[in-house]
């Protein structure tokens, strides 16, 4: 009997001990006894050279501010971030990989409004490229500072163009032309397996952390996804864009297209469809050049970059792109928000940091003026910079249901590409679902 009691007591002590450990963990996030302020930063760059670039600038900041220590940690799982915020143990800074969640999280109070900090610290927001600002603004408040913008263009494999009898210096200038070229660039084996593909409309898409093709193509066709305070998913131009995508699938068979995509290796590795030389054209960003250079140098030389074409007769929309940024946000309940803000202010407004970081990771500087930015003289990189500045660069709408809208749009696109629904049915359905969700969220 006594033994049992001892065991229970032992278990209780152990529990208390573990709980104590838990609160210790909290303390390392929060106040510290000495004068040194410890900031934790969760970042979505991941590992590799992008993490190294981040550590480089953190090191510089710590040199300038010896009383601040910043520890970065790759955390790409959004559920984990939200759990930490709702549990009251968030990091001081989150370096998000996309603005897709900003509106949704801000509307729920998971992120701090930075507008008061911006005023207090006299941050001149006119130094930022406007599109990046738009991506971090929800309901008139700024919930993050933009860092490293990114957009996409048409990347094409010149060697494959040559082999197919196309002029490697004449990329398509209309979506019709793109399709005709893509068909010429496609090789199908006798059993229907696609050995080489001209263009894969929804790749790399959302599952690789980017806005889906359909969003961008909707804009390219003159459509909108959110207009005058209303969801406009079934805009006729969006439907036209989806039909254009679906025509590729009809031509080669949805299952053959899906098999081609899923047999390939992970995005941005030497085995991915584009880097392995199996996909001739792709809509992708400048970083793809950087990764290709590292993974497959002989291919990197042969990549051409052009503004993404618009439909024939609508050339004013040539170079349509989605544009986004890496929002530097401070979650609600973060320790040391003032110190955290000081860091992200320095990080996002210092032209030298922008230049260094953008060069290291092949992203676009979030600042309008960046001196000594060597990449700007690279003609391929310049395509992306020029697009970012144009009226054809679009930001995904920041709504309380931004994420849900994005995810369900991707599903609607899939349903049409696989031939389960017509474009009109799918986007009418999406319109209904998202309007209802938006209404309920208000």
């Amino acid at each position: 009997m006594r033994k049992a009691v001892t065991a229970v007591a032992g278990a209780a002590v152990l529990t208390v001990g573990l709980t104590a450990c838990g609160s210790n963990g909290q303390n390392s996030n929060g106040a510290s006894g000495s004068h040194i302020i410890h900031l934790t930063m969760w970042q979505q760059w991941g590992g590799g050279h992008e993490q190294a670039a981040l550590n480089k600038i953190i090191g510089e900041y710590e040199k300038l501010h010896p009383n601040v220590r910043i520890t970065e940690l790759p955390v790409t799982n959004d559920a984990k971030i939200l759990t930490a915020i709702s549990g009251g143990t968030p990091p001081s800074i989150i370096d998000l990989g996309t603005s897709l969640e900003v509106g949704q999280w801000a509307s729920k109070g998971a992120l701090m409004s930075l507008t008061p900090y911006i005023k207090k610290n006299h941050v001149n927001t006119s130094v930022y490229v406007p599109a990046g600002l738009k991506a971090v603004t929800y309901n008139g408040h700024m919930y993050g500072l933009p860092f490293m913008n990114f957009d996409v263009g048409l990347l094409y494999n010149k060697a494959l163009f040559k082999a197919a009898g196309l002029n490697p210096n004449k990329p398509p200038t209309t979506t019709q032309q793109l399709q005709a070229d893509a068909y010429k660039l496609t090789k199908v084996s006798s059993n229907g397996t696609i050995e080489q593909l001209g263009f894969l409309p929804q790749y790399p898409g959302q599952s690789n952390g980017q806005v889906t093709a359909l969003e961008m193509l909707g804009w390219d066709y003159g459509g909108q996804w959110y207009q005058n305070g209303h969801v406009s998913a079934n805009n006729p131009r969006n439907i036209a864009a989806l039909n254009w995508e679906a025509s590729f699938y009809k031509k080669f068979g949805p299952q053959n297209m899906a098999n081609f995509l899923h047999s390939a290796g992970a995005y941005l590795t030497a085995k991915d469809p584009f880097e392995s030389g199996k996909l001739a054209m792709v809509y992708d960003g400048p970083w793809a050049l950087d990764y290709a250079e590292a993974n497959v140098p002989q291919l990197a030389k042969n990549i051409g970059v052009a503004p993404f074409p618009a439909p024939a007769g609508q050339s004013s929309r040539t170079g349509t792109t989605f544009i986004d940024t890496n929002p530097q946000v401070i979650p609600s309940g973060a320790a040391h928000p003032n110190a955290a803000f000081k860091f992200i202010q320095w990080e996002t407004t210092n032209p030298q940091v922008a230049s260094t970081f953008a060069t290291l990771v092949y992203n676009l500087p979030q600042l309008k003026n960046v001196p000594n930015f060597k990449l700007a003289s690279d003609p391929r990189f310049r395509v992306f910079m020029q697009e970012a500045d144009s009226a054809n660069a679009h930001v995904w709408p920041q709504l309380p249901i931004s994420t849900e809208y994005g995810v369900k749009l991707d599903e609607a696109q899939d349903a049409v590409l696989y031939g389960k629904e017509t474009a009109k049915q799918a986007l009418n359905g999406l319109q209904q679902t998202i309007s209802a969700a938006l209404k309920q969220s208000k």
């Binding site: 009997m1 049992a4 009691v5 959004d78 915020i85 098999n259 995810v407 991707d410 349903a415």
Partner: protein, 294 residues
Amino acid sequence: MRKARGFTLLFLSPWLIGFLGLMLVPLLVALYWSFTNYDVFQAPQWVGLQNYIAIIHDPIFWQSVGNTLYITVIGVPTGIIAGLGTALLLEKPIRGMGFYRAAIFLPTIVPPVAVAIVWLWILNPDYGLLNAILGVFHIRPLGWLNDPHLAKVSLLMMVVWGMTGQIMIVMLAGLKDVPVELYEAAMIDGASSWNRFRKITLPMIGPVIFYEVVVGVIFYLQFFTQAFVVTANNLGEPVNSTLFYALYLYQNAFDFQKMGYAAAMAFILFIVIVIVTMLLFWINRRVVFYGGGE
């Protein structure tokens, strides 16, 4: 007496605390949330039946119900047939029986996540083992997990492969319990082996099969892990063909922060499982034979 009750409670306390803290309280809280608009960050707002009404009108909800019913209706009998089949084969003393039993049981001890990752490769359309085997017979490569028509079947293959061993062990125990005299008597009467199986084996192991049906139905209604791992980047792909009930629930709760909606879904599932289990027990009382009484 009082002292004895104190000790009883003390000994029960680990279970009691666990049940209250991890089951009953969360269950009641979830019930409350299901009537609210709740996003984890802001205080829940009472909205009455709004979540339940929205669920009924949500086409994706019904899609997830359809997917879940499909995998349950196919998965439960398939698992039991595979488990019972291997048990019957390995019941008789044959050479290497221990090895075969171990080989079939082995997948059971592999964690479901690892199973899913390995099967992703087996099912790869271009480089996968399964398509390579089909290729030998000149069958064209199939899309498996990327084919909306085959995705659920592909998931079932990996799940059944992982569960057959465990079902087999339980079935073997059941088979060992069938009195040999029954078979001897039947053989003297000239009963064929099929008749011996149908008239003796099946009724005698009825309770074991029933147990596996109940456990299987509950498992498949809550099916989550393998589907979650396989479609991690894009839950439910392709075309929502693997968006099972629990996956859609997760998506609403953690991707869309619709905790109230998800709680309502969880409650509907809870009620459905209770009703289905009661129904199974009702059938059990009428159909299953208990030799030694219940």
